[in-house]
């Protein structure tokens, strides 16, 4: 590993920008992501910034069970994020559809079918600490030594 790569790894580990997109959840996971901002969990002490702007994001948090309103739009949001990038599915909804995945409903889970998902956090809703842990583990798995693997 070159010195430049080492510097990049070190810097990148402390500057993860997060955008979240709600593709049809009940809001429960949504507010647990917001609760990560609270001084108790303090997401910014790990160098993670929640901007909700896909064009400057590294990690996309996907919440919800994929409603028809998001067809094409979610893929567009995903394409707007510059590489290196990773998507994290928060809650049961993007993984399996939770209890919305029944006959007569409009949802089309899992979100894995539509965009590549790097990590999944099950729970209805997961606790803020679990969401934090997932973002941190994605940071180490996806962003470290990225240039070395993608010359």
């Amino acid at each position: 590993m070159t010195i430049l790569q080492q510097i990049k790894n070190k810097v990148r580990a402390r500057s993860i920008h997060v955008a979240y997109v709600d593709v049809g959840s009940c809001n429960g996971c949504d507010i647990e992501v917001l609760a990560c901002l609270a001084p108790r969990y303090d997401i910014e002490q790990y160098g993670i910034f929640v901007h909700n702007n896909p064009r400057e994001a590294d990690v996309l948090l996907v919440i919800g069970a994929y409603t028809p309103g998001w067809e094409e739009k979610l893929a567009m949001v995903w394409e707007k994020i510059p590489p290196p990038k990773a998507a994290v599915a928060i809650g049961n909804c993007p993984i399996s559809g939770c209890l919305f995945n029944r006959r007569e409903s409009f949802v089309d889970p899992p979100v894995k079918k539509h965009i590549p998902i790097a990590a999944e956090v099950p729970g209805c809703p997961p606790r803020p600490t679990e969401i934090l842990l997932a973002i941190l583990s994605v940071r180490d798995a996806v962003f470290a030594n990225w240039e070395g693997e993608h010359p």
């Binding site: 049809g24 009940c26 429960g28 917001l34 609270a38 919305f100 409903s105």
Partner: protein
């Protein structure tokens, strides 16, 4: 008539200020907004369609997931509607515990709404204070019900778990702390000159306009309409509940009404803890067939369930009317019109506390 519009500005569906996806299409003339429309349809899951034909045991969990922010009131209204259909009595202790859970939920919802408003007008310090205070309320909710968000605390004929005496003492201790902090923060909001510049006189919703748009909840109470679903609830009447209102009609009033209501909720919980009756928390009962319309006061306004069930307690037909749809209507067609800049549009929209998940279901 042809209208001259300088520029159409779409906001959303992904916007740094919005918690949930909604698209606001504003027509601006210069910086002044002359018209606005909201475009929904990003969250439609079809919960009412899933609910039909299922037993109440399943529907109570679905009802809770209509809205994750105010899940306790959805649970409460659905269960009390089923109790009304089947004429199941509620033990007095359970009725009081329900009020405690509901008021804690209202506190956290209002704190979240006020955090969003402070975050939108870029007063991040106060926003973070409020979010930290919300975590303390969430702790109390978790201690009482066992879960942070979707707790399914109420069941027909009672509640799931009792509150031991030492938990009641911890709760009243934390309420004192929360009230002390909250009075300080609401004082900061009330006296902040920069906050007043962004909030006072912005997003005016007059009483007539609020009546025209059928605004409900804190949005209506900030415009001088004293409407509150808790007035007709038997337990709240025992507690001597009186609704609050303000007559400023602007963003400032809507946020301050929520602050006042949190303090009112604290005093309601204190009163509950003081006269908490002894006895059982579950009376038992069987859900039967019938149909009813039942309303309760959600943090955002009046919430109505229309339920028709068959003799085995299965839901044949269900219709839910959530408060946010009226408030979004009032927001788009009355409050935003005439806003002086685009920055005020997001602030005004957030001050009405729209909840898109329960609007679209």
């Amino acid at each position: 008539m042809k209208r001259t519009v300088d520029v159409n500005i779409p906001l959303g569906p992904i916007h740094p200020c919005f918690k949930e996806p909604a698209r606001l299409k504003c027509e601006a003339k210069g910086e002044r907004i002359v018209g606005a429309e909201v475009e929904l349809g990003y969250m439609k899951k079809g919960i009412e369609r899933i609910m039909k034909g299922r037993p109440w045991q399943e529907v109570m969990f679905l009802a809770e997931r209509v809205c994750g922010i105010c899940s306790v009131i959805h649970n409460m209204v659905f269960i009390e509607a089923m109790e009304q259909i089947s004429s199941i009595p509620v033990p007095p202790r359970a009725a009081y515990l329900r009020v405690i859970a509901n008021e804690l939920d209202r506190m956290q919802s209002h704190l979240l709404a006020n955090f969003s408003y402070c975050y939108t007008i870029e007063h991040e310090t106060l926003g973070m204070y409020l979010l930290d205070l919300r975590e303390q309320v969430m702790d109390e909710l978790e201690r009482l019900t066992g879960a942070r968000v979707t707790c399914a605390y109420m069941i027909p004929g009672g509640v799931r778990c009792d509150m031991p005496r030492h938990n009641a003492e911890i709760l009243s201790g934390s309420l004192d702390r929360i009230e002390r902090d909250l009075r300080r923060y609401s004082g900061m909001f009330a006296d902040g000159p920069m906050i007043a510049l962004r909030s006072r006189g912005v997003g005016i919703l007059t009483k007539e306009a609020a009546q025209r748009a059928h605004a409900v909840g804190p949005t209506a109470r900030a415009s001088g309409i004293t409407t509150d679903g808790r007035l007709i609830h038997p337990t709240y009447r025992q507690l001597g509940f009186v609704p609050l209102s303000r007559t400023d009609c602007d963003n400032y009033a809507r946020v301050m009404v929520r602050f006042d209501e949190i303090i009112q909720s604290i005093s309601l919980i204190r009163k509950c803890l003081q006269d908490l009756p002894k006895g059982v928390i579950r009376g038992g009962g069987v859900c039967k067939g019938g149909e009813t319309r039942y309303s309760g006061e959600a943090p955002r306004g009046e919430l109505t369930y229309f339920i028709k069930s068959d003799e085995y307690g299965r839901i044949v037909d269900i219709q839910i009317q959530t408060p946010s749809i009226m408030n979004i209507e009032a927001c788009c067609h009355e409050m935003i019109i005439g806003a002086d800049s685009i920055a005020d549009v997001t602030a005004t929209f957030v001050s009405a506390d729209p909840c898109i998940a329960c609007t679209e279901r």
